[in-house]
């Protein structure tokens, strides 16, 4: 019987909700990167204000170029040989229409190994009505408030590390976790001497584009997310700079897989599959994610820690070809420290851990530990340079397709990554 091994099904789940690049976000609009760059570079440094009637339109942007090198295992790109396929460009426009109403849009393009390809997309766009500080509403494509830093996963200038802890903020997963199209309510309550409470709640969908992986026994047809809902609450405690909170998110991915006749034909002939089977298998992947967060920021010091679990299952219309998988729970966590030594020098450290299945923590393919150290140099107000080293133990977050389709159990258990990245922004 030609059924992929169990690890393959796990990989499919992981593909959907953790690391892989099989599916990419559908472009709402496409410009070529060159055009976007040229447009961005027409502007001089500093936020721009276009002259239109009323309050000016604010224009901000960034251009990043990175380099990634690993001593073993290809990570995010063809990193063992060293790769410059690590580029990001963003340009946003926003305008205050009234003192309660704002509109904004950001175009974003990137190249990260096989992910995306310089196609510019609407990263976010919204209409934001802030009725009062405790109640506002946004409609459009809105970034997902998951954990402390999900929204800045692609904003190099807003953080110290080049890569945020990948256990909770997998950069190759931005199509699924960065933004949703729908609506959001948000607000902030003062709790007087008890601090303040900030909340956000959202619901909508994800627009996804399917791409069948090479050498696959099937083609991926329809791919959609019927819903993504969730929220985040952050409590700004009376101890200034300390905030704690939690985020919850639920979503479902639906996909149709079309298997080749060469795969299902013999199974039909053997009577394992019904004669009316045409090769189409419908799959539903419901997932629930939560993360608990704590951050302390005082002067030049930043401390952060988060712990998360993701619950993913798979329901298939034809379990012979695509077995059902009962809920698999992955575990993710990190602790981070950053300290601004000088206005131009900002070092940081973190340790991040990831287990694909809490029931099975042994073996290199089921875990990945990541100890990272970063130096951020702010060359001036509009330009920064970062150096970062990672010591890795385990292979769970690696992509087999980037590693010549070798199983994760065959990849190097202990390995390292060096990254260099520079970003200009205004």
């Amino acid at each position: 019987m030609i059924v992929p091994p169990a690890s393959c099904w796990k990989w499919v789940i992981v593909t959907h909700l953790h690391q892989r690049s099989v599916f990419r976000r559908g472009g709402v609009s496409r410009l070529r990167l060159a055009g976007l760059c040229a447009f961005a570079l027409q502007f001089s440094a500093g936020a721009l204000e276009l002259n239109v009637p009323g309050e000016p339109i604010q224009v901000h942007g960034f251009v990043s170029q990175g380099f990634i090198k690993s001593n073993a295992n290809n990570y995010l790109a063809e990193s063992t040989r060293g790769s410059f396929e690590f580029t990001e460009v963003g340009l946003n426009f926003s305008k205050e229409l009234t003192d309660r109403l704002r509109v904004g849009v950001q175009l974003f393009a990137r190249r990260l190994g096989p992910l995306d390809g310089f196609d510019a997309n609407f990263d976010w766009f919204y209409l934001d009505y802030r009725w009062a500080d405790w109640l506002g509403i946004r409609a459009g494509r809105v970034k997902l408030p998951f954990g402390l830093y999900n929204e800045i996963n692609d904003i190099d200038s807003a953080r110290v590390p080049i890569l945020l802890p990948q256990s909770i903020y997998p950069t190759s997963n931005r199509d699924f976790l960065l933004a949703q199209t729908g609506g959001e309510i948000y607000g902030r309550f003062s709790l007087a001497s008890a601090g303040a409470l900030e909340y956000r709640a959202y619901g909508g969908t994800l627009f996804l584009r399917s791409t069948t992986p090479p050498n696959s026994p099937y083609q991926i047809g329809k791919l959609n997310a019927p819903y993504v809902v969730g929220g985040r609450i952050l409590w700004e405690t009376p101890l200034e700079g300390l905030r704690v909170g939690g985020s919850l998110q639920a979503l479902r991915l639906d996909a149709d897989f079309f298997f080749n006749q060469s795969i299902f034909g013999p199974l039909q002939a053997a009577g394992i599959l019904p004669p009316e089977f045409t090769g189409k298998v419908g799959v539903q992947i419901p997932a629930t994610l939560w993360v608990g967060s704590a951050e302390y920021s005082a002067g030049a010091l930043l401390l952060a820690a988060e712990y998360s679990r993701w619950y993913v299952s798979l329901n298939s219309s034809q379990s012979v070809l695509f077995p059902n998988i009962s809920t698999m729970v992955s575990e993710r966590f990190y602790g981070m420290l950053a300290y601004r030594v000088k206005p131009w020098l900002h070092p940081g450290l973190y340790y991040s851990g990831y287990y694909t299945d809490v029931q099975n923590r042994s073996g290199r393919a089921n875990m990945q530990h990541d100890a990272a150290a970063t130096l951020r140099f702010d060359i001036n107000e509009y330009w920064l340079l970062k150096l970062e080293g990672h010591f890795m133990y385990g292979t769970a977050a690696l992509d087999p397709t980037l590693n010549h389709d070798r199983p994760l159990t065959d990849l190097q258990k202990t390995w390292g990554v060096l990254l260099v990245k520079t970003t200009a922004y205004f």
Binding site: A47, Q58, G104, Q106, I152, A158, S297
Partner: protein, 147 residues
């Protein structure tokens, strides 16, 4: 004795020149918080002021939209204001705004070049809120006390 007096004088003049950065003139505050003259508010809490400049709080108690205005990041008043009111260095505040700008949630207050520009801005908008150095000509802008 003359040497001691000279040393004391040197110390005093050094202290005065350092103090001149934070407190432009002896007895004057490093910055004063100003609002539009029509604003009924007479005093503000530090936390309210910090939240207003970080745009976490966007309206005055009389429901007027707050329009905060900053000074250049290298100005003495900005640095002192950031340290005492926001309790963060200017660099950290700029990093905060990077997060807000590129997630599309808001934009930072405008950064103006001088006390005079800040006063003009505050006088232009009924919800205006700014800070100027202790020696600035207020030209009718109202000073509010910081609680």
């Amino acid at each position: 004795m003359r040497a001691i007096r000279a040393f004391t004088l040197l110390l005093t003049s050094s202290a005065l020149s350092v103090g001149a950065l934070a407190q432009p003139r002896l007895g004057l505050p490093a910055f004063r918080v100003i609002v539009h003259p029509s604003n009924p508010v007479a005093s503000v809490e530090r936390k309210f002021l910090a939240d207003a400049f970080l745009k976490k709080t966007t309206r005055w108690s009389h429901d007027q939209a707050i329009r905060p205005v900053d000074q250049r990041s290298d100005s003495v008043a900005r640095n002192k204001f950031s340290e005492e009111v926001l309790r963060q260095p200017v660099d950290a505040v700029k990093n905060y705004w990077q997060q807000i700008i590129f997630t599309g949630r808001d934009v930072p207050p405008p950064e103006l070049d001088s006390d005079e520009d800040v006063v003009k801005y505050v006088l232009k908008y009924p919800g205006g809120l700014g800070y100027v150095s202790g020696t600035a000509n207020l030209n009718g802008a109202k000073v509010v006390t910081l609680q």
